[in-house]
């Protein structure tokens, strides 16, 4: 594992919708910038070509683009007690320009000064500081506590429209205007006096035309503040935006775009903040990004959708959707790499790999799909759900074909189907492995195999359908004889098995688990042959083996846990899914 290659990221399906203002449009009006896991994606709006900025080692938490478009800055989260990096990227070369390390745990927000001279950064709850960075020298100038000890967390930060030395922060009961005193290397705050009004400001946006900035509060109103700290206006008086103002953008003509927590986008009149136009999105609006002067703008929601809205016609178009919660499984149809299916909370989606387009979506409200397989003949999609049912769907219309009720007591956790499509083998949360006989009009239980004491995480069937493997969290893997429905071998290890695979020749079995090791086992007598340390940091969640059985590279991209990996049937691409709902496709270098 010493000299492993780095996998090349080919494309990604996903959008980190929960990042506030996590969707930006570059000033060249051609590129959209957003985060997927720990990568930044620069996507061409016309060709939809993606480029990746890889450098963070954990989820990206904020993005800023400088006014000239030369720099992109991104901040990340990290584990408690560690420092979170800010990375400044050079847009033209798509290269890392500077890595700035000072904040702890999380970078809350970032902003460039109007002439790209400074970068202002705000640390998260556990850091609570504001730092000014010199972009040219890549060094910090000064820092300060973001708020009084008596006030709450500071959530957002914005730079002034024309003064390099001025920026604003706002949060829970705090609203400050900061002035940089460069000769003395100090930033001096001016607390805005809001009188009796007490607000938690979640978003802040400075106007391009006047010396004012706007703050969106969780109460659902907008505050207008002058650069000298004058509290100019608050509104709307009635009909406040429900679930709070979550995103704000000022337009050139003085109008304001606001996104609310209930997923509505408003075009507001100045000063009164009364809505002139309204558009509805599916979930909380987390970012509003103007293209150019705002003739078109993009809306990012917490459910990872991206909408495009034409300002003049107020025409709304859904640009992008993807999973927005943990993806539990991937499946390829037999013999083709062009399609794959993923499953997550509430839905199963079938994707076209080359274009990253969603071809089919099957929704089952409020249930989580834990595992998914295609039947070998391609006539059905079989899925296991956490309500203990196995559901099969027609692959084109997405309609329900049949349901096996109460297949398992504690949810179906794994599924496999024999190559003749006559039997389904399912594993449940309670540790049972069951064999189902599938006929066109009836599905019957053929056998129940009770050996595992904990959830069965993966089941694999051999090529001749004569035996199957099951891996369980109780630290055992069992080889079952599918003729007698009895255990033929058992593998013990001091680990929680997460994944299992047959070697292509089927005389070896590979397992991976929480001990971070890949173990090779003899399938004939269940003896361990060797162990490899596969991961330096965490559990091995996914394991797949290609036809030749030789792998060795590493990829960095997912923010959180990688839930599953699969090598596509023609050995060109690896698809991996993460717990953040992103799907990444990696080019397999050996192919």
């Amino acid at each position: 594992m010493s000299n492993v290659e780095t996998l090349e990221l080919q494309s990604a399906i996903g959008f980190e919708g929960k990042v506030p203002n996590g969707l930006r449009i570059h000033p060249d009006r051609m590129h959209m910038i957003y985060a997927i896991g720990c990568n930044l994606v620069i996507e061409n709006l016309q060709t939809r070509k993606q480029e990746f900025l890889i450098g963070h080692n954990n989820n990206v938490s904020c993005i800023a683009v400088s006014k000239s478009g030369r720099f992109i800055a991104s901040g990340q989260v990290t584990y408690m007690g560690f420092k979170a990096d800010i990375i400044i990227w050079d847009f033209a070369s798509r290269q890392l320009y500077a890595r700035l390390v000072l904040h702890k745990v999380k970078v809350q927000d970032l902003a460039f000064s109007p002439n790209d001279a400074y970068l202002f950064s705000l640390g998260g709850q556990d850091d609570g500081s504001v730092v000014v960075w010199n972009v040219a020298t890549k060094e910090s100038i000064c820092g300060s506590q973001a708020q009084h000890k008596s006030s709450g967390i500071t959530y957002c930060l914005a730079a002034s429209r024309n003064n390099d030395n001025l920026f604003f922060t706002a949060g829970n009961n705090t609203l400050r205007i900061w002035e940089l005193d460069l000769p003395n290397r100090k930033i001096r705050p001016l607390d805005v006096n809001l009188g009796q009004t007490k607000r938690i400001v979640k978003t802040i946006s400075s106007s391009d035309t006047e010396d004012v900035f706007f703050c969106g509060s969780t109460t659902g109103d907008i505050l207008q503040i002058g650069y000298q700290g004058q509290f100019k206006a608050i509104g709307p008086e009635k009909n406040k935006f429900s679930l709070g103002v979550t995103a704000l953008q000022c337009l050139k003509n003085g109008d304001i775009l606001a996104g609310s927590g209930d997923g509505k986008v408003f075009l507001l009149a100045p000063l009164t903040f009364k809505p002139k136009k309204t558009a509805e999105c599916d979930a909380e609006v987390t970012s509003l990004a103007l293209r150019g002067d705002g003739h078109m703008f993009f809306v990012g929601t917490a459910k990872s959708q991206i909408y495009k809205i034409q300002l003049s016609e107020w025409k709304q178009e859904l640009l992008n959707t993807c999973h927005n919660s943990v993806i539990n499984d991937i499946a390829f149809p037999f013999g083709t790499s062009e399609l794959f299916a993923t499953c997550s909370f509430e839905d199963i989606r079938v994707w076209h790999s080359a274009s990253s387009q969603e071809l089919l979506r099957i929704k089952v409200p409020n249930k989580t799909c834990t595992s998914i397989v295609f039947s070998r003949d391609g006539t059905s999609i079989i899925s296991g759900w956490d309500d203990g049912k196995i559901r099969a769907f027609y692959p084109e219309s997405g309609k329900l074909m049949y349901v096996i009720n109460d297949a398992h007591q504690r949810g179906v956790t794994s599924l496999a189907i024999t190559s003749d499509c006559r039997r389904i083998i399912s594993g449940g949360g309670e540790g049972q492995v069951r064999v189902w006989n599938i006929r066109p009009d009836s599905q019957t239980l053929e056998a129940t195999m009770k050996e595992h004491k904990n959830a069965v995480v993966q089941i694999k069937i051999n090529k001749s359908d004569s035996e199957c493997l099951s891996a369980s969290l109780d630290g055992t893997c069992i080889i079952w004889d599918l003729k007698r429905f009895k255990r033929s071998q058992v593998l013990f290890a001091n680990t929680l098995f997460q994944c299992i695979a047959y070697h292509p020749e089927e005389f070896h079995i590979l397992t991976g688990g929480s001990d971070r090791k890949i173990a090779y086992w003899e399938s004939y007598d269940g003896a361990q042959i060797r162990e490899l340390e596969a991961s330096k940091s965490g559990t091995i969640n996914g394991l797949d083996i290609d036809a030749t059985g030789e792998v060795e590279s590493v990829g960095f991209g997912h923010g959180g846990e990688v839930k599953k990996v699969k090598i596509c049937p023609n050995n060109r691409v690896i698809v991996s899914v993460g717990d953040d709902g992103s799907i990444l496709r990696w080019r397999l270098s050996s192919a």
Binding site: L339, V350, H352, S355, Q357, T379, I381, Y394, S397, M401
Partner: protein, 256 residues
């Protein structure tokens, strides 16, 4: 379970590139060749220039008698005239024309008389402006003074006179109307008797006041006495003024 679902397969989801079928060949009529041949065969040779060498007529086409003579075309029988609407044949008795009518007029003498009595024709008015005697009519040329010779030259056009008269008449009518109108709702003249009676009454009142004034005590010592004297004086003055007004004017108009 609908039967069409059974045909579903995941592999149908793979987006197929649309194959654009090649265009069918351009339509060609199956009669094209025939038409071409026909045109070629029907085409008469030597239509424009004639034969290079005139072919000799065949011995069977020998020259026959009167062959070269001009022949009138066969008369065309229309046969369309309706027998019913054909005019009747003239009656030999009734419609016999008058015969033997003769005039006594001596045309020779008549012509001579006419010529003698005829007024000579006025010479054409022409303008000759070149040596060669190129002439053109004078009247339309504008060189002869036409408008100056007109009878009404220099006089006010009749329409203006008419218009002026019209305005004068309208004004007079309006004034007459206004006078009438004022007369209707106008002030009433006080009659002589009325005037006289009013005057007498006023004088009588004045006399009474004067008598009272004359009989006032000589010494005016108290305020009431002084007040009474002043009052009388004032009243008398007012009456004198009214009497004077009535006496001074011959006609007095009363606005009702």
């Amino acid at each position: 379970m609908p039967s069409h679902n059974k045909d579903e397969s995941i592999y149908n989801l793979i987006p197929q590139e649309k194959v654009i079928p090649p265009k069918p060949p351009r339509y060609e009529s199956k009669f094209k060749e025939t038409a071409k041949d026909e045109l070629k065969n029907v085409k008469q040779d030597h239509r424009t220039m004639g034969y290079a060498k005139e072919p000799v007529p065949k011995p069977t086409d020998y020259l026959k008698a009167h062959q070269k003579e001009f022949k009138l075309p066969e008369p065309q029988t229309t046969g369309r005239i309706n027998e019913k609407i054909r005019p009747p044949v003239p009656d030999p008795v009734k419609d016999r024309p008058l015969l033997g009518i003769k005039t006594n007029k001596n045309f020779i003498s008549q012509n001579a008389v006419d010529t003698i009595m005829a007024v000579p024709k006025k010479p054409e008015k022409n303008l000759v402006d070149t040596r060669k005697g190129d002439k053109f009519p004078l009247d339309p040329s504008g060189l002869a003074p036409v408008y100056v010779k007109k009878k009404n030259f220099g006089s006010v056009p009749t329409y203006i006179i008419e218009r002026k008269e019209e305005t004068v008449r309208a004004k007079a009518e309006y004034e007459a109307y206004m006078e009438e109108y004022f007369k209707k709702g106008a002030l009433r003249t006080m009659t002589d008797d009325e005037r006289e009676s009013i005057l007498q009454g006023l004088k009588k009142n004045w006399d009474e006041l004067h008598h009272a004034f004359q009989s006032l005590s000589v010494v005016i010592d108290t305020i009431p006495k002084k007040m009474r004297k002043e009052k009388l004086e004032q009243d008398m003055k007012a009456l004198e003024k009214d009497i004077d007004l009535l006496q001074r004017h011959q006609f007095i108009y009363i606005a009702d």
